[in-house]
Amino acid sequence: MGVDLSVAIGGRTLENLVGVASGTYGYGSEYEEHLDLTGIGALYTKAVTMHPRPGNDVPRIVETPAGLLNSIGLANVGRERFVEEKLPGFAALPCAVIANVAADFPEEYAEVTAYLEAHDPNGALWGYEINVSCPNVKAGGVALGAVPRQVELTARLVREATDRPIIVKLTPNVTDIAEIGRAAEAGGADAVSCINTVVGMIIDVEARRPVLPAGTGGLSGPAILPIGVAATYRVSRAVSIPVIGMGGIMSAQDAIQYLLAGASAVQVGTANFVDPRIAPGIRDGIVAYAQRHNLASVSDFHSLLG
């Protein structure tokens, strides 16, 4: 039986619903040197910001039980060098490229997006993932992504800046993630993705200070799989736009959990560090499962949870 793993988002189609998550695959070129990116549905770039950011003090990552805690600090070259140095390479990649956009306030998200729009006449970018979930970014003390009104406003302003698909990326560090998902939808997002990392801290007991100089960091990897699946399930029931699930996916089985929970696509993050060839294998595993269970397309996964 043929299995269709494509997913429609905001009038466009991703042929393969398995993507690689922002911050874990760079801009494609890093891995491409080593590996064939065929088999990856979408590359979500490292965050792009208004200005270059050097990133946080080191160390920036530390391993936790079945997890990874990071505080990279949105290290990136900024929108201008992104357009000059990274964008030209995207056309040659065998997968869709989605720019992950980060900013400090709603208008700035729109401004970065508008800049990328203006400098990508050939459409190297398939769409945008709006990272409102960065714990560093605050709106009056609380993370912007935790305030429904701010998320809605951000989506609305970005919507005015582009006709390409907009995916709003949600943080799990909130009381009610479904509410944030609804706000993104109300603002005009074409999809939401979840989850970004979970706030965590690890302390070096010999040095008697947090391992990460920033204090807290974002937890990713297998440890958060159940958190991501629960969030995806809740958001899927709350919105009618597609949900892109992630958090701890290490195998096709894990990805299928997300699809059954209501996701229409998935992203693989930390697992790329363990095995950079893992995403295509996950896609193949989903196809084999779909065949075994007689599921023709991703919507057939959703009927199962009621």
Binding site: G23, G26, L35, K46, G55, E63, N70, F273, R277
Partner: protein, 266 residues
């Protein structure tokens, strides 16, 4: 194709808690150069999760030894210190080693006719040994300074006969009494020729080597370490402060070897 399954050929304790692992290296994978590293997937479960980086301590090309089918032999020297290296220490000949490599930028060739002085401490011994043997085979007469805390933690290594090895221990139980940097100072004082310094070891040692080099007006190369996520330049985890406008460079891609003056020593 830098991802491959190596076959463990030997895994030997060469000092207290130091091991040398030899493993097969496919002929279609580029040969490593000294200072480059690889990452190893130590477990199939989620604990430990990340691949671990290790320097390469030796390489025997397929042409240089009989094997059917032909394959090269690579080695690494590691310190058993935590969960991942404990698992490595448990591997036996015939076991599989999931390798990604060679990665990063290794040591540059010294100027012709210069005298390379190589200093290693702790886990730095592997890359420096590989460099020493490579330079010796290329006609240099490198001096290899190995530092350890005490005699029992001094790794037993196979150095090319053109490598002049000198050892130091903090407690004087073997060789020179003092740090490898003390030995370096002493060595610089007595060796003549155009000296060039190559160092791999704990950060304090690298900084001391750099400062020593600056004092003597010598060029120095240091191999940096930083916790790594991807190993290929994609995640920005392995940052090291450098004297450049961007402020940070990536150890895995711009390094691990840097000119010592490039590093913004804290």
């Amino acid at each position: 194709m830098p991802l491959f399954d190596g076959r463990v050929l030997a895994n030997t304790e060469i000092a207290s808690d130091y091991y040398q692992m030899d493993f097969s290296w496919p002929t279609d994978v580029r040969a490593p150069s000294p200072g480059q590293f690889l990452t190893v997937r130590v477990s199939r479960t989620a604990v430990p999760l990340l691949r671990r980086p290790f320097g390469i301590s030796g390489f025997i090309p397929a042409e240089s030894h009989p094997a059917d089918p032909p394959e090269a032999i690579a080695s690494m020297i590691y310190w058993r210190r935590g969960p991942a290296t404990a698992l490595l220490a448990g591997l036996e000949p015939g076991d599989t080693l999931g390798v990604m490599g060679p990665l990063g930028v290794g040591f540059p060739a010294p100027e012709p006719f210069s005298v390379p002085i190589l200093i290693a401490g702790g886990v730095g011994v592997g890359p420096i040994l590989f460099l020493a043997n490579t330079l010796a085979a290329a006609g240099y007469a490198p001096l290899l300074l190995l530092g350890a805390r005490t005699a029992s933690s001094m790794p037993r290594v196979n150095a090319h006969h053109h490598v002049q090895v000198r050892r130091s221990t903090d407690d004087g139980s073997l060789g020179f009494r003092g740090t490898a940097i003390d030995l370096l100072e002493q060595t610089i004082g007595v060796v003549s020729g155009r000296l060039e310094i190559f160092c791999c070891g704990p950060e304090a040692m690298l900084r001391a080597a750099h400062e020593c080099a600056v004092r003597h007006g010598l060029p120095a190369w240091v191999a940096m370490e930083q916790t790594m996520g991807c190993g290929v330049g994609a995640c920005m985890a392995c940052a090291v402060r450098v004297n450049r406008p961007e402020r940070y460079a990536r150890v895995c891609t711009e390094g691990p070897v840097f000119r010592s003056t490039e590093i913004a020593w804290e």
